[in-house]
């Protein structure tokens, strides 16, 4: 038997009907890919979620869904829970359960979440800068690598916080923030985020502001001056929408700071004792905050995902069987259409074995191509799964 000849004839036959061949390859590849992609995506998601959860030992936040709290703190998903009061955070700090890192994840800028935190967050996540320097004052921000690339931003540029919704004209402050540094990519949600000092988010929240000196409130001429750098709070005083070297001293906070909002606080105990004490502390019924072990929350989420995956896989398998049945029918019909051609081969002197090999080779080429395509797509899915997950969550 001339395998080369058989391969040649099969290849010629497949090439002669490229649309049919590609459709077959595509449909079989998709049939094989979907369950595999689902499995890859879920297992990669679990790994990625667990990795980040592992580096976030404990989370303290308001009562509510522990998964919402975890996803908001780890993946900066929109804040679904009520805020955690700064007073509760200070209380947590005073307990000395280890390092405590505040997170305020409510606002967005340039389509990315704004994370109000402290410098310790960068240490916790092992984040480094590829350009610029760390934040030094109110209104400063460092941004993730993906955001910088997407919006072509560099240190020295500015980014403006967005209103929470289009009707929020008088609410959240559109603060122009100075980009001081770009973070090195770390393939997590940090790549697509804007990091600011916690106090900067309170300016956006409207709890702190800077304005012209109110030494002469009757001086209306001053208030009428138009400046692109300022926005009017009322008819006589102009508020600054950007923190600058000259106006920074005018920024001040109003009200009781202990009532200021946060989303959550990451707690990094130094030892088991601190961890146990922290967990025990929040068992007190009088305490209205909850403590969450992100790894457990993620495991719960993963088990839900796995249940969904099992269901989806069953559906995919049934669909796959149907698709493979259809593919088989397409092959059989195709061989039926080519009966004359195959009979010619037979008449000339091709044995049944050669005819069978010819048919088998065609099926094999299609199936192997489909499998290769599905494997490549699977590998691609694996490589972009963390990014996809991040995008899906946001």
């Amino acid at each position: 038997m001339n395998l080369g000849g058989i391969a040649f004839l099969s290849w010629k036959a497949l090439r002669h009907r490229p649309v049919r061949s590609l459709l077959l390859v595509g449909s079989i590849a998709l049939t094989l890919y979907f369950p595999r992609a689902l499995h890859i995506f879920i297992s990669e998601s679990e790994t990625v979620l667990e990795d980040r959860a592992r580096s976030t030992p404990l989370l303290v936040g308001p009562e509510g869904s522990s998964i919402d709290l975890t996803l908001n703190s780890l993946y900066f998903t929109p804040q679904e829970l009520p805020p955690l009061k700064y007073g509760a955070y200070e209380n947590l700090v005073s307990q000395g359960f280890g390092r405590t890192i505040p997170l305020h994840v409510r606002f967005r800028a340039g389509g990315a979440p704004i994370i109000g935190t402290t410098l310790t967050y960068f240490e916790l996540r092992g984040l480094n800068l590829t350009a610029g320097r760390w934040i030094t004052r109110l209104g400063d921000c460092v941004i993730g690598a993906a955001l910088a690339e997407r919006q072509n931003l560099k240190p020295g540029d500015t980014i403006i916080s967005s209103p929470e919704n289009i009707f929020d004209l008088a609410g959240v402050y559109p603060l122009r923030m100075r980009i001081t540094g770009i973070l090195a990519p770390n393939q997590t949600a940090d790549d697509d985020a804007v990091f600011v000092d916690l106090k900067t988010t309170w300016i956006i929240e409207g709890l702190a502001h800077g304005h012209q000196k109110v030494a002469a409130p009757g001086d209306n001429a001053l208030s009428r001056e138009s400046d692109g750098n300022v926005i009017r709070a009322n008819s006589s005083v102009v508020e600054f929408n950007e923190v600058t070297t000259t106006n920074i001293q005018s920024f001040h906070f109003h009200g009781d700071q202990s009532t200021y909002p946060l989303s959550s606080a990451v707690v990094v105990p130094k030892n088991r004792k601190q961890r146990a004490l922290a967990l025990a502390f929040y068992q007190d019924e009088e305490i209205t905050e909850q403590i969450v072990i992100p790894l457990k929350a993620v495991e719960n989420l993963a088990s839900t995902l796995f249940a969904t995956q099992r269901l989806a896989l069953t559906a995919f398998r049934l669909l796959g069987l149907a698709a493979l049945g259809l593919a088989l029918m397409v092959f059989l019909l195709s061989f039926r259409l080519r009966e004359r051609e195959l009979r010619t081969y037979s008449k000339i002197g091709a044995t049944r074995h050669v005819i069978f090999c010819l048919q088998g080779m065609e099926v094999a080429v299609i199936v192997i191509s489909a499998m290769t395509l599905s494997l490549l797509a699977g590998a691609l899915t694996r490589s972009i799964a963390p990014e996809m997950l991040s995008k899906l969550l946001n």
Binding site: M1, N2, G5, I6, F8, L9, K12, A13, R15, H16, R340, E341, T344, Y345, S346, K347, I348, G349, A350, T351, R352, H353, V354
Partner: protein
């Protein structure tokens, strides 16, 4: 001289058909050309298929070049046909998606163990003789009937078979092409000492053959002759 093709007491019938064939004796020597004539449907194609080993007789013996075909297993029989016989079909039976060259070299692709280079060289010489060498790389669909038939003949002869069986090889050709084609087959048979058996109903060509046999004389069955 021992005949290259010997058919003895062969009987054949199709299932669920009243048609019967009984050939008492038929022989063809190397280099001899035989035309079998008869009206359409009288069984000429069936007879050629029996000789080629495509159909199996119920009784009798068919021997080609000393090999009793009906005693071979189907696989061996097909391999024998591939290597020792050249078949020319009424409908050319060219493969649409193969170029003319690949159609001519089809026996090679299907497992013929000849030297590829020499077979290719023979095939190209034949194509040149038949005036189709310029179509070597194109698909048969763009060829005329005559050109396609010549390509089919080229395929049958390129393997240098000992027996050439042609079923109405000129059925679709104009007069000048008919004569040219038949002359080519006969020349090849004589030159290469091939036995040539041509089934035809075209009386114009009969003068060219060494022997002309009326199929009705050959088939001694008293049953209806149309399959």
């Amino acid at each position: 001289m021992k005949p290259l093709l010997q058919v003895e007491k062969v009987e054949f019938s199709y299932p669920r058909s009243p048609y019967r064939m009984r050939i008492e004796e038929f022989t063809c020597n190397p280099g001899q050309t035989v035309a079998i004539v008869g009206p359409s449907g009288c069984g000429k194609t069936t007879f050629l298929n029996l000789i080629a080993g495509i159909l199996q007789p119920e009784q009798g013996r068919i021997e080609v070049d000393g090999v009793e075909l009906n005693s071979l297993r189907p696989t061996r029989s097909a391999a024998f046909r591939l290597s020792r016989m050249g078949l020319i079909f009424q409908e050319f039976e060219l493969v649409e998606h193969l170029s003319v060259g690949d159609n001519i070299l089809l026996p090679l692709h299907l497992g013929l163990r000849n030297d590829r280079a020499s077979l290719e060289s023979t095939a190209k010489q034949l194509a040149e003789k038949m005036g189709i060498e310029r179509y070597w790389s194109i698909l048969p669909a763009s060829l005329s009937h005559g050109e396609r038939q010549r390509a089919a003949i080229c395929r049958a002869l390129s393997t240098s078979p000992t027996l050439v069986l042609a079923d109405e090889p000129t059925g679709n050709l104009d007069s000048s092409n008919k004569h040219r084609t038949v002359r080519l087959m006969i020349d090849s048979a004589r030159k290469n000492q091939q036995a040539l058996v041509v089934a035809t109903h075209d009386v114009e060509l009969l003068d060219s053959f060494d022997r002309v046999i009326h199929f009705e004389d050959l088939n001694q069955s008293r049953e209806p002759t149309c399959p």
